[in-house]
Amino acid sequence: MKSWLLASVALLPASALAAELKFSSFGWFELEGTAFAQSANPVFDTDGALQQADQGGVSFAIRPSFRLETANKGVQLTLTPFVRVDSMDSQRSHADLREAKLDAQLGKIGSVRFDATLGFEQVFWGKAESINLVNVINAADLVEDLSGDEKLGQPLLRLGAYTGDYGALQLYYLPYVRTTDYAGAGGRFRSRIALKDEPVIETAGERWTPSFAARWSQALGGLDLGLSAFHGVGRDAFAQIVAFAGTEPAVAQPVLTRETRLGIDAQYTHEATLFKFEGVWRKTDTPRAMVWRDGYRDVALVGGIEHTLHAVGGTEADLGLIAEYAWDERGDEAPGLFDRELILGARLAFNDPDDSSLLFLAAVDTNNGEQVLRLEAETRLEQGFRLKLIGGAFMGSKAGSVMHDLRRDNFLQAKLSWWW
């Protein structure tokens, strides 16, 4: 029924539509200051030069959005570039197209409604608070945020079908592989081994290797369920040592290989308690250099509960308590921090006019006792201005683990952002 709209846009009779189009612009600008408790160990960069990182730095970022849409939102054009300039790490000074897309409501066939997206897009799948195993469409922007919650815009074509009673199905075609940047030798949150910027993608098409994904989701009473599948270039890079400084590995080459994964994500909501679960099964090709392995087949799980106490202590604040456990079959070989982690957290939402909140998360590795602590506090200063303070600490790290490289990176960060 509305598919004619798409057709019209495709034909661009712009003048005829101009009266119906609505332009809007919004976004934010952010100033960020970070201080680290200790100076980092100097490391060699990919050129073999010894680099020393500063103990703090400032940075700013801007993320404007421009949108052109028809009055009934049948068609939307969105452009959201993102630029960060960082005083410490040239690798962190980066730009990205978070969104550059065309959304269209395609109308209805029978009782099934269709929509589509074409362009750079951000997609979120998942339920858990600590790590979203099933969230696979976008590559993480690791220089922007170590948590991996910030994603690079992914070029894609999406087709959505909404049946109502039988849930919604999304099909994705990802023609191009986006890969994350890694912190440079002058920056923080970087490994002892310098990682080359440009990964090797061991598929025939290299960056233009197409990937495919699908997700079915449905709300069944109190249960929100999602099943997903992905086939294409994997998101977790292998680090292949390519140079040595003495006997120590000095430079590594990130390598991406083909991956197939199936995922399930579920949340059951009972009154003020949310029960969450995510699980993936992965089959990953090993890099060619690792001839002795013929691929990985592994499972990773994360699950837990979130319980909200309303109006704690007679105030208007809500206290959300989070407890999750993340398990990765690969154990220490898992690329991230969450291999055997118990995550405990509390979120205090003050429910004040300034939407102030406090979030505290502690992740404890039940294998080796490493702990990651994170504290976030944010509030609105004035209409349009938000202040966010983030503190992070990496404690009890054991030599040789991923976290050992971060042990000197305990930090305190303040972000002042202006929204329009």
Partner: protein
């Protein structure tokens, strides 16, 4: 009969109309009072603290009439470097000083080492001569001889010479004529100071310390005057600070100064016209008046300051302020005056005078605050401030805090009361008149030095009667006296005890050829009489025995010096001595006397006397409270915060200090009148608020808002004022001020923390066990009678439900709607925050299915695009709710069990905004009346109680107009049954020729004073939005 408020209004008008007259009246008061004040003189006698009817004073007067009323002077000489005073040079100095001392005015006798009447036998003859006959020509030998003679005499050691020989005194006795006490003592002291200066210049190596009753009298006078001089500027500065800080206006400070100065002068004036002299206690009266008068002024001025935010002219502000606060200020001042007037029960005249003078000052201050001050405000070019004083916001916050935590307050306060109150048992009455003066004063330094090395001013005196004229010569009697003296010397704390018996024993020995075995009481009366006669004949000029023997020779005087003894020690000794005398000389009961003894008992007696005064004050003040509040419950409640603070303050004093002077007796009565002010202000406002129909919490909030700050300001003012008075160098004044300041501190705490909690507790409880039982029971009975008619109840329920159904029916069939809303969140301080959003709603069609809605936020910018999708369910089932966060493109199912939670921190809870289904409530039709929003409309008033126990409400009362069945006004009652919020609908417009929608909804939280205004615009119905749009899967593509 005109109502109270119209009477007040008329009075206010009269005051304003007659403002010129008031200025003249004030000027008149000032002139008359000044004339009175000019007559004032300072009475330095420390005996002013004792009434002429005081039993101890009568005893003392009688004693002094019988012996000699001597004022003494101690000139203590010590050689800081030397080992002993028995050196030729020191003795020469003593001799010189002794000689010069004879030249002092009113001198009667000078005793010193050099002129000590030494007796010895020369054959049969008894030689009486000076111990050092020629001080100018003392050799080492003579000095050694003098030392040997003196140190063997018990009546010398620790009296004329210290046991350690480091100090000796030249003791001067005066007999002041008593014709003009204001001149005589100062004249003596002046001469003494000249003499001392000469001596110190002549003998720089020697140290001279002055003490004795003439010095103490002088000290009493000086301390009072010094207090007046040093404390007055401090007081002015403090007042400047308080008034300036709280009112931020130089003019206000000036006006306050005018009022308090006239009041202070008036308090002086009343004393002057009554012909009473000033003394150490009353000299502080005007400062107390100033402290108290400031509060009235601040009250008036701050209320004017508050009224000016409402616009109008200065006259309007004044009229409004007068009308509103006239009663409160009057009550406050009158109760304060009553409290101080109750000091008339004190046995100590200075305190009676103080009470009367402060009461007068306070009443004058009241008159001026209600007349001159308004007149000045109208005349003065006072600046208008449009914004509300910042203080109000702070108060509201405090009020909220107290209301939130009220359950803690009572137990905490009780705990505090018990914990602190226990300290009262540690309080010791301590009236050592030496310690009345600060340790750092020269008087104390010198006196303490003398007490350490020689003797003390603390002296207990007994006049031991022999029972007959001339009976002192009886050997039995003399033996008893001697035994008593010996007994006294063994008592702890007694440094020296002496009586004429020592001399008689010595004379006996001298008459028997200096044979030490004869150093005892003569065997018969004749011998004793002869010896004394001989002795008196050979005494030098002025050295008679009249201070040791009474005129008819029927009694001997026994002295016991107790340097540094505490009042308690002295009282114990007194008791033991009385017991000893009762046992050994049962003929006549003998009590000790002397100034020390009189002071010893004054607190003890005055505490009892003032208990009566305090009770009278309490009754009068409580009576006034009942009269004002016209509520015996509140009156009773008011007693607690009036008495508790004094108990706490005394307890703290007990823990921290322990000793207290006679000031303690007047503190409760004096503070009662002050403490009660805050309670009155609080309760009057509270009652008024309750009368307006506010709930307990609302009433407490508005009370905090209205009077909280002035209570704090005046209390802080009082506390500061008394803290300054506490700097007085005179302990009774300082103690009184300290205790008062502490009491007021606790009073502030009690009034702001305990009283509200008490009110919440008592006014909220509905069980018949409460103290509020009669009122509550009557109300409960009435309430119980209503549902006793079941037929009617059923009827009313059906009618109520019918109205709800009709409302729902008329508001159904709109299928879907789109609106843009703006919420303006306001808090009582006036700060605003806005959020705007679009709401798309789809009417639920299937039975048991609620509406579906999506709210998408547009403002503030940092939540732009945040959306909430709700699938409403019929209660008690929870709604399904999803939140869409555009920043991370995440759709998250959220818990919706929290009905009572606030929607984006507005006063609308999720429950208020959720779809309202007829089945969610039970109904009760109450009445029909004019709509509160539009009196032209008739409204049905229906009570609806939610069926779900998750609801935050016990009931809602809905006013629905009977013309179109639109909700006009909703009152929400919380689970405790108190009115929590009120929602008003306005700007109803008809859409699509069918559906009425209000443009503006204002939700006011009656408990917190916050409100949220919801403005609706751009209503669109039947836009054809489909159910598919309300699919959580589509949130990312649909709403963003």
């Amino acid at each position: 009969m005109p109502s109270q408020s119209t009477m007040r209004l008329r009075l206010a008008d009269a005051i304003i109309r007659w403002r010129h007259f008031w200025a003249v009246v004030a000027l008149g008061i000032f002139i008359v009072a000044s004339l009175g004040a000019a007559r004032l003189q300072f009475d330095p006698d420390m005996r002013v603290f004792f009434d002429e009817t005081n039993a101890e004073r009568i005893a003392l007067d009688k004693f002094e009439a019988a012996f000699a009323k001597d004022d003494n002077l101690i000139m203590a000489i010590s050689d800081p470097k030397g080992e002993t005073v028995f050196t030729p040079s020191t003795l020469a100095a003593v001799g010189a000083l002794t000689e010069k001392a004879w030249l002092l005015p009113y001198v009667r006798r000078v005793n010193s080492l050099t002129n000590f009447q030494d007796t010895h036998a020369d054959g049969d003859a008894m030689i009486v001569r000076d111990l050092v006959p020629d001080p100018k020509a003392v050799t080492a030998e003579i000095a050694a001889h003098a030392r040997a003679r003196a140190m063997s005499r018990p009546e010398v050691v620790n009296l004329l010479v210290g046991k350690t020989e480091k100090m000796t005194q030249v003791s001067v006795l005066f007999r002041l004529p008593g014709v003009d006490p204001k001149v005589e003592n100062p004249k003596v002291v002046e001469a003494v100071e000249v003499l001392a200066a000469e001596f110190r210049a002549a003998y720089p190596e020697l140290r001279l310390d002055l003490s004795g009753s003439v010095i103490i009298n002088h000290q009493f006078a000086v301390a009072g005057q010094a207090d007046g001089k040093t404390l007055s500027p401090l007081m002015f500065a403090a007042i400047l600070l308080i008034v300036g800080w709280s009112l931020r206006s130089g003019l206000a400070v000036l006006m306050t100064m005018v009022v308090i100065i006239i009041s202070a002068v008036a308090s002086f004036g009343v004393l002057g016209w009554a012909g009473i002299d000033l003394n150490t206690a009353t000299v502080l009266g005007p400062l107390i008046v100033m402290t108290l008068a400031v509060s009235s002024c601040v009250h008036m001025l701050s209320s004017v300051r508050q009224k000016m935010t409402e616009g109008g002219t200065r006259t309007d502000w004044v009229r409004a302020a007068l009308t509103q606060h006239m009663l409160g200020i009057t009550i406050a001042c009158v109760t304060t005056a009553v409290g101080f007037l109750s000091l008339n029960a004190s046995i100590s005249p200075p305190f009676r005078q103080l009470g009367n003078m402060v009461a007068t000052g306070v009443l004058v201050a009241l008159l001026l605050t209600l007349t001159l001050l308004p007149a000045m405000i109208i005349w003065a070019p006072l600046k208008q401030h449009a914004e509300q004083a910042w203080t109000r916001r702070v108060m509201l916050r405090l009020g909220d805090w107290v209301i939130r935590n009220w359950r803690m307050m009572l137990p905490l306060n009780l705990l505090l009361l018990v914990g602190l109150g226990a300290g009262i048992s540690r309080i010791q009455l301590e009236d050592n008149f030496i310690q009345y003066f600060d340790e750092t004063t020269p008087f104390r330094i010198q006196t303490d030095h003398i007490e350490q090395n020689l003797t003390g001013l603390n002296m207990l005196i007994w006049a031991l009667p022999s029972g007959s004229e001339g009976g002192i010569n009886e050997p039995d009697y003399l033996k008893r006296v001697d035994d008593f003296v010996q007994w006294l010397r063994l008592q702890p704390g007694v440094s020296n005890a002496s009586a004429l018996t020592e001399t008689i024993k010595r004379l006996n020995m001298n008459m028997h050829g200096d044979d030490p075995s004869w150093q005892r009481i003569p065997d018969n009366a004749e011998e004793a009489a002869q010896y004394l006669f001989l002795y008196e004949l050979s005494l030098g000029y002025g050295m008679d025995l009249t201070d040791q023997i009474n005129v008819d020779r029927s009694a001997l005087r026994v002295n016991a010096s107790l340097p540094g003894a505490s009042t308690a020690d002295m009282r114990l000794l007194t008791e033991r001595a009385t017991a000893w005398l009762a046992q050994h000389a049962p003929a006549q009961k003998v009590d000790p006397t002397g100034l020390s003894h009189v002071f010893n008992l004054i607190s003890f007696r005055d505490t009892r006397a003032m208990l009566t005064g305090t009770i009278i004050a309490l009754i009068l003040i409580s009576g006034l409270m009942f009269l004002v509040l016209r509520d015996w419950r509140l009156g009773l409640i008011s007693l607690l915060p009036n008495l508790v603070p004094a108990a706490m303050a005394f307890g703290v004093w007990g823990y921290l200090v322990g000793n207290v002077t006679l000031a303690i007796s007047i503190v409760v009565a004096a503070t009662l009148g002050i403490v009660v002010d805050d309670t009155v202000h609080f309760l009057v406002q509270y009652k008024e608020a309750r009368r307006r129909g506010e709930t307990v919490e609302q009433a407490i909030r508005s009370t905090f808002a209205h009077v909280g700050m002035s209570i704090i300001v005046t209390s802080v003012g009082f506390i500061l004022g008394f803290a300054i008075l506490a700097q007085s160098g005179f302990a009774p004044n300082a103690d009184m001020a300290k205790l008062t300041a502490m009491t007021l501190c606790f009073a502030l705490m009690t009034d702001l923390l305990m009283l509200p909690a008490l009110l919440i507790w008592l006014d909220k409880r509905t069980s018949p066990m409460t103290k509020a039982a009669p009122v509550v029971a009557a109300l409960s009975a009435m309430l119980l009678l209503i549902p006793a008619d079941p037929a009617r109840a059923e009827d009313m329920a059906a009618k109520g439900r019918a109205i709800a159904e009709e409302t729902a029916r008329r508001d159904s069939g709109w299928v879907d709607s789109q609106i843009r809303g703006t919420m303006i969140l306001r808090d009582p301080s006036g700060s605003e925050s806005r959020r705007s959003f679009r709401i798309t709603t789809l009417e639920g069609t299937a039975p048991g299915e609620g509406d579906k809605s999506i709210i998408v936020f547009e403002q503030p910018a940092d939540v732009r695009g945040v959306a909430m999708l709700t699938h409403a369910k019929i209660e008690p089932q929870d709604d399904d709710q999803w939140l869409y966060l555009p920043a991370v493109k995440r759709v998250k199912r959220i818990a919706s069990s929290n009905r009572t939670g606030k929607f984006v921190s507005s006063e609308f809870s999720f429950e208020d905004l959720g779809s309202q289904e007829v089945e969610d409530y039970t109904y009760l039709y109450l009445r029909e009346e004019a709509c509160p929003t539009d009196p032209a409309l008739r409204c049905a008033v229906v009570e609806s109680a939610p069926k779900s126990d998750k609801s935050g409400y016990s009931k809602r009362i809905v006013w629905t107009d009977l013309q179109e069945y639109r909700p006009q006004h909703i009152a929400f009652y919380n689970r405790r049954g108190d009115l929590e919020k009120e929602l008003s609908f306005s700007g109803y417009k008809r859409h699509d020729a069918r559906f009425w929608r209000a443009d503006k909804l204002v939700m006011t939280n009656k408990q917190t004073g916050k409100s949220t205004e919801m403005q609706w615009e751009d209503y669109r119905f039947g836009t054809g939005v489909s159910a598919d749009e309300f699919n959580e899967q589509r949130l990312p593509t649909l709403v963003d």
